[in-house]
Amino acid sequence: MNSAYAIDVQGVTKKFGPRTVVNAIAMQVKYGEIYGFLGPNGSGKTTFLRMLCGLLTPDGGSGQCLGLDFRRDSALIKERVGYMTQKFSFYEDLTIEENLDFIARLYGMPQRKTAVEKSLARLGMIERRRQLAGTLSGGWKQRLALAACLIHEPKLLLLDEPTAGVDPKARRDFWEEIHRLAAEGLTFLITTHYMDEASRCHRLGYIAYGNLLAHGTVDDVVKAGGLTTWEVTGTNLSALADKLRGLPGVEQVVVFGLALHVSGRDAEKLHASTAPFMTAPWHWIRIDSGLEDVFISLMETSKDNFA
């Protein structure tokens, strides 16, 4: 099974009792691609990642992951995939070096010592090697987790909210590292809640209530959202916002600092409802909808459809 895709799955389904957590999701991720996986909390992102790396048994679906049958060969996939959990899941009572060495042994690395050294060096942890993992700050823990996921030289990395609780500088460094690794040919599937991170991904998928609602590049997703957005500036914006909310066609009214974003999927209706307010002291301009506007719109509508 040779293909251009590191992940190529269809109909992936997982049920917890009567609840369908992941509903017939199809996903294709090319080698060397950074695929951002977004969606509200509890939408099934983590469950999907866990199914891909064999931590959960899917209830349905087929396809391949790194050229291996993702349902049958989960043992082989485990050896080729790096999975970074949402919560720090290395041993806090082991040092950085001991943690890396432990993981290297589990994967049966032939050149274990060199692999550990390399990994320490690349993450700039040579001097901190004897520090207990439990005493590291959030940013360093995240770097250690990434280093540990990379030690067995996986082809595919599944990162579950890797930057939650990490400061902006560390987040930027982290994303630079991700892009560098992707350039070397590694494939990434990353879940995140941050819009700036989403826009740094090559392609995106948006999942809500177990359903993949939109996917493609940032532009594709924005286009698929079909949202019309107006930006309003002027005085007394919060009073205006109150008046606009609930009008037919007005789906979102969000304050962005000194401006108000008013959006809806039905441009006609939206215009009809907002026209009476397009007077002084307010200044209205049509703008491109942002990713966030689209995601919130998707989330709201999906609630009606699936909840």
Binding site: R50, C53, G54, L55, L56, T57, A75, L76, K78, E79, V81, Y83, T85, K87, F88, S89, F90, Y91, E92, D93, L94, E98, F102, I103, R105, L106, Y107, G108, L132
Partner: protein, 379 residues
């Protein structure tokens, strides 16, 4: 598929990790060595199932040679400390009720008169039997004693009153521990009790801890095999178990002078099976328990019947049949027979065999459950 076969390297990874964690967890490590020492000293020196020097009151309503002889004889037996002399029967009752004395002996008013007349007078021994084991041996001693003591005073013209000897002599020969020294029973048994307690609790925590700290998710995402995790986690604690056994055996020899008639190396080898049995229980519990607290609770759930029904605390043969049946299922029961057999009776492999296979069967069942229960996924 060869990839799924047991990998020594992965097993080693788990074992080394457990050793490092054990070394860093000072409190637990201290407990593993501390618990056996505390138990040894407490139980070894404190528990006595053949108590002596029990406080005794005497009410000699008949102040005669005979009553004085009886008191003297009781004292000499070592079981009784005649600490109080009562002046009324009521006083005796009070002392017994208040727990001031364990025994009270009443020599009735006309004791010597009746005795001399050959009327077989009563001698009243009252015992506080709230704790039956405290009085058992002592009461046994009284019967024998009063006879011999009194016979000594029945001489000259009254010699004919000496109780006639029974037509046969019952010879009682207490084997293996003739002096009934409790330590000989308790200290070797402690090896088993201590191993049961620490091994089950510590390994019970081993897997639940991984789950509670979230490291299980990580472990499961690697190619590690359940058998590698379980055996890798067991091995370090086998060594801890041996440290404990060594401590107890050294104390048995040098502190308590417990006889070691059989082969100590044989005991050490057979202990292996027992350690594995307990570790298997702990691991199995930890695959069932949702968190560390539950694991500890389960360990106690197993530990109490082991302590009470194995024959460590109470005589095994004194229990009703169903309780003995439960006892037979517990590895501690069999291990106690092995360790007492080897040390006190000088048993060899042949004599211990009947107690070996039940432990082996137990290990097999427990490990199978443990490995089956160990989930390779988070489902």
């Amino acid at each position: 598929m060869s990839r799924r076969a047991f990998s020594f390297s992965r097993f080693l990874a788990i074992t080394l990790k457990e050793f490092i964690q054990m070394r860093r967890d000072r409190v637990t490590f201290g407990m593993m060595v501390g618990i056996p020492m505390i138990q040894l000293i407490l139980f070894g020196y404190a528990i006595n199932t053949n108590p002596k020097h029990l406080p005794t009151a005497v009410y000699a309503a008949d102040n005669s040679t005979f009553s004085r002889t009886i008191v003297w004889g009781l004292r000499n037996s070592g079981y009784f400390d005649v600490s109080r002399e009562a002046h009324s029967a009521a006083e005796i009752q009070n002392w017994l009720a208040e727990g001031k004395v364990q025994f009270a002996i009443t020599v009735p008013v006309d004791f010597s008169r009746k005795l001399l007349r050959g009327e077989k007078p009563d001698l009243l021994l009252e015992a506080d039997a709230t704790d039956p084991s405290a009085v058992g041996f002592a009461v046994g001693a009284v019967n024998q004693l009063v006879n011999t003591v009194i016979n000594r005073d029945l001489k000259g013209p009254i010699a004919k009153l000496q109780s006639t000897t029974p037509p046969f002599d019952l010879v009682i020969h207490q084997q293996y521990n003739p002096e009934n020294i409790s330590q000989y029973n308790i200290v070797p048994g402690l090896t088993g009790v201590m191993l049961t307690m620490t091994m089950i609790i510590i390994t019970g925590l081993a897997i639940t801890r991984e789950r509670e700290r979230g490291t299980m998710e990580n472990l499961l995402s690697t190619p590690v095999h359940p058998a590698e995790v379980i055996i890798g986690k067991i091995v370090p604690y086998i060594m801890v178990g041996y440290v404990q056994v060594t401590l107890v055996l050294l104390a048995a020899k040098f502190l308590f002078d417990v006889p070691m008639l059989g082969s100590v190396p044989l005991l050490v080898v057979l202990t292996f099976l027992f350690i594995v049995a307990n570790l298997a229980v702990g691991i199995t519990f930890s695959t069932i328990a949702k968190n560390q607290l539950q694991a500890v609770q389960m360990a106690f759930f197993f530990f109490l019947p082991s302590l009470l029904l194995s024959g460590y605390m109470f005589p095994f043969r004194g229990m009703p049949g169903w309780a003995q049946d439960i006892g037979e299922c517990l590895p501690l029961t069999h291990f106690l027979r092995i360790v007492r057999g080897i040390l006190l009776k000088g048993n060899g492999l042949a004599e211990t065999a009947p107690d070996l296979w039940p432990i082996a069967l137990f290990v097999l069942v427990m490990l199978t459950i443990g490995i089956k229960r160990y989930r390779q996924t988070l489902d």
